[in-house]
Symmetry: C2
Subunit: 370 residues, 2 copies
């Protein structure tokens, strides 16, 4: 892969966002962009820099009493005829793959590195920058997970801010997500003699009624309202139009507030479907990622909220903040992108979201308020 032109961290945040978007970096193909980011950070002269695969880690070591970790992934979902970027001046939108999710966040991080990662800079907190790969694909490939396994010390801090798109709001913690498959078995028979068989699709009825009767919980933690949800996200069964089916399955997704841990979430799902299981169904948890508590009572988090000048709200989706939470580090989501547009062909970012994000973080890291 050809080298990219050097990144100019002194350019404004919009220009920097465009430069990042115009450097394609679909998951698994981040190397050129990671090279450019690494080179730009090393050039600053005030940062300890380490490269781990296509993750680029950089930090100040100024002996400040607190450390703030800023994290963002470099990869994008596959391009959908939306690279290079396109600026629509009339609507103030920058279109392109990764504009929202999350190269605008990466651009803010690079601007902050350019300000606080140079010799003589005086941030109020030490700062760690984590740019990582493979966020948009299977969890096992996730670059932040790899850093957590191989260089855990790089992730420690008093507050982590993940710059995933939040539309400029502070979204605290995240909900957990559990997926389970409920499978029923029956006995195959010709449908003209259905009483000789046992219909595995019909055997799902109890699970359907359990879902229909389910009332999801809402819970407030640190002033943030988390809303749970238990949903079927897939159902399948059937052999042929004239056969009583002997297998059927229902895939369930439970989104749960961070006051439940993974075990408690699984126990809850098993309780909901206890009757179906007692009737012979099997329930298998296929993945389960715990959420992250908002941690807003931590002083470092409170100061950041003050700097942004807006109240925090609950993060409902699961994000990589949970990887920080697993180490007991309070973690927030805060980014200029629009989460509704992530992964769409029409992905764009509102240009006027960019500078306020940079300014709020600059104020926070400087120790002043916005």
């Amino acid at each position: 892969m050809d080298d990219l032109p050097p990144l100019d961290l002194s350019a404004d945040v919009l220009s920097l966002t465009r430069a990042l978007v115009d450097a394609p970096s679909v998951s698994g193909g981040e190397t050129a962009l990671a090279d450019a980011v690494e080179a730009a950070l090393r050039d600053l002269g005030g940062l300890e820099v380490e490269r781990i695969g296509d993750a680029v880690l950089a930090r100040t070591n100024l002996g400040r009493p607190t450390r703030v970790v800023l994290a963002g992934h470099l990869d994008t979902v596959p391009i959908a005829d939306n690279v290079p970027s396109r600026l629509d001046e009339a609507t103030g939108r920058l279109y392109g793959c990764g504009t929202s999710d999350m190269k605008s966040g990466d651009a803010v991080m690079l601007r902050l590195a350019g300000r606080f990662g140079v010799p003589g800079a005086e941030p109020a907190h030490d700062v760690t920058f984590v740019f990582y790969d493979n966020e948009e694909v299977e969890a096992v490939k996730n670059g932040l997970g790899r850093v957590a396994r191989e260089r855990r010390g790089w992730l420690y801090g008093d507050l982590a801010i993940l710059m995933e798109p939040t539309d400029g709001e502070i979204e605290a913690g995240c909900q957990g997500t559990l997926r389970a498959v409920l499978e029923t078995r029956g006995r195959r028979a010709h449908s003209a003699r259905s009483w000789l068989g046992v219909n595995a699709i019909h055997a799902l009825t109890g699970a359907f009624t359990a879902l229909a009767a389910y009332r999801p919980r809402e819970v407030e933690i640190d002033g943030c309202l988390y809303r749970e949800g238990l949903n079927a996200v897939g159902v399948s069964g059937g052999v042929a139009g004239n056969v009583i089916p002997d297998e059927a399955s229902l895939t369930i997704n439970f989104r749960y507030a961070p006051d439940r841990d993974e075990d408690a979430a699984e126990a809850h799902v098993r309780e909901v479907f206890a009757d179906a299981v007692a009737a012979g169904a099997t329930l298998t948890v296929v993945d389960n990622s715990g959420g992250a508590l908002p941690g807003l009572s931590e002083p470092a988090a409170a100061a950041f909220i003050e700097a942004v000048g807006r109240p925090a709200r609950a993060k409902l989706g699961w994000t990589d903040v949970a990887r920080f939470s697993a180490f007991g580090i309070p973690a927030l989501n805060y980014g200029p992108g629009d989460p509704q547009l992530a992964h769409t062909r029409e992905e764009h970012v509102l240009v006027d979201r960019l500078q306020p994000a940079e300014d709020a973080l600059t104020a926070y890291l400087s120790g002043s308020t916005a």
Copy 2:
């Protein structure tokens, strides 16, 4: 395709069955076998013979007061390493594709043609032989259906006997079969914010409970017990593990007794799912083939039952007898094959079922009783 060796209708019914099985005739590839059957029937000298595509029609025209139609399809399902035929002397089984479904029946028909289709023969009834193609594939290709459309007169008679496998029993009429698809619509949303969406899988719940509460009817007609059944034979829905699905569907098969016609069957299914439809689901009937009344009170049928010497029972599956029933012709299923083995790799026929079937029909057509 090469010509087959001539069929010897004077050979015993087992040899004739083997000759037919050893002449592959998967649906759509019946021409060589139809050619051989046509040639053998023409050679007899006492039959009017007509060829329509790969259907071969032959009949006596002796001015008898009654006419009996014997029908059998020449095609088979795809071969599964089970041609040529294999005779297992120890168990008295002839193995091979089509042995049960239904070349053993065809062989009985050819034996009867050899006896009653020659000059000077004196059957008690005029006899029509219908050998047809494409029974094992889509109904639109069915050779008997084509004959019904193009040469309806060939199918008229006082009794039709379809020689599909019945294990040597008389199975009267047939049940109807209706397939319908119940579709629900919702609104897609990320499963972390499930309340923004409408879950189309959950919307199937009413249909599931309707199926669970359904009690199928049993009805006796002409002494035959028909057992209905209403079953889900397929279910599908789901977009991705983190998406509230906006579409789901349930495929339903209703097997109904022949005292309901097609319209009554559809009305019944619509009544069962009325609540689901009222709640927004759509119900589409995708196919509906009415059944056939047993017609056992007709004199020609009663005489045949007497010849076989066993009581008739209800035919539960749908068969081509319904095509005769549509013209008001009483129709029975009677064949030496085993319906349980049809379409299996292990398909076989019990050798000692063959001669009794030939003998019973010979007695009936001769006007004597067995």
